[in-house]
Amino acid sequence: MNAVPHLPWGAWYDEGEFRLEMPEGWNISYCAITDAPGLSETEIESALSQPIGCEPLEKLAQGKSRVAIAIEDITRPSILEGVLNAVLRRLLRAGVSKENIFFIICNGAHAPMLREDVERKLGKAIASEYWVLNHNPYDNLVDTGILLGKTPFQVNRDFYHADFKITIGSIMPHHFAGFSAGGKLVLPGLSDIATLERSHKFVMMGLRGGVNEVKNNKFRLELENVVQQVGVDFFVGVVPNAKRMPAGLFAGDLVKAHRKGVDFGREIYNTPVPRDADVLILNAYPKDSELLQADTAFTPLKSIKEPIVKKDGLIILTSCCSNGLGHHSLFGPGMRLYKPPVQRRFLKENALIFFSQNVNPAEYRKIFHESYPFKTNWGDVLNMIKSRFGEQCNVTILPHAPLQLLS
């Protein structure tokens, strides 16, 4: 056996690496993102001092009495503590008192974040000094008077009534909104359950949208139009690198700053790959905290038209799944948009194996079709590969699959 580069593993909860053993003789292509170094504190300050398309944060926040800072939840990868502290310093310099600043987690249909997760995501200092509210899509809502198709759009009441609204989140590839963050933090992140349902139905029906498509993405354009009516005063978009640190920070106008972040994201997430894989390993890091998020590892396959796996090849999806199955109040088992698992059409003639050590078979069968084997032992996966391909095998590894845009 020879050692190959390790997979990054267990974002937020089990941070480390998973060692992939591979036999001698296999041709391994470890295809990482282009990547960029994390920003220093000075660079974060510099980016905030040069807002895109609006006045500086300190100026905009002057005289405000109720400041909401809406941030993505812990299923998203960016380590935000440094950015949040920089934003807070500016608000305090603008004269906003600490008591008049609160944080709100854009949970959408995800699980609420309890104390330990709040500390992980926002840092212990903020967790111990500020009010941190979890959004709940069933309550504490206000009608915006905006209709989305036939659905009245309701949004979190505390966010809506704040007289200064900041949103902060990761700009990274998204299989439907093109890239994440921007207006998406509010719709669906802070929306009512009916709006969330409508939003997710767009995805399930495959209507509009698509990975890496932003400029003409009708799904994104519609949600941005609506969120601009609700009003976001200052947006901070973070482009995380392979270690989940901010490699780029784009602050200011909700749309203009977001687009700058998308341009940067396209650069650092670009991943050249060979087209002749017998086996493709898609690792779900940095969105590997739960099984219900594992599908984001398929994102690279939707970012390129031509196949990168040979016909009748094998795709292996790996995820730490620190929180096991996880939670989603629309797609989770028993929820209104849950559907029994079916075979994934986009896999075409390729077989799929799922590998995780923190999911049990009963949970797995709720999400993945029975024709896709589930393995908790890497040796078992290797044996399946060997029995299919023998001693000669081209293996492509995408270690940060949810981030990777293939070229």
Partner: protein
């Protein structure tokens, strides 16, 4: 009712639903597992051909295609606006 029955027959013919499946006009086709991303494409093509309408990209939203009643309303509105 004619539009609804025509669509129901189409969904059965295309094996998206069983002939004996009970579905109300206001049931979600998505939540019932009848329609998905490929199914919606086939349905749109069928509606355009059968009713001589053009489904604009802006019309592609769940509000217009998630229930039999919504599809009927959509088709009838398109036909009215055409005439």
């Amino acid at each position: 009712m004619e539009v609804i029955e025509t669509i129901r027959a189409f969904l059965i013919k295309e094996n998206m639903m069983d002939a004996d499946m009970k579905i109300d006009e206001t049931d979600s086709l998505l939540e019932e597992g009848i329609i998905d991303s490929l199914g919606i494409q086939a349905l749109v093509a069928f509606l355009e051909e059968t009713y001589d309408i053009t489904v604009e990209e802006d019309d592609l939203m769940p509000d217009n295609f998630d229930t039999l009643e919504a599809i009927k309303d959509y088709v009838e509105n398109k036909q009215e606006n055409r005439s």
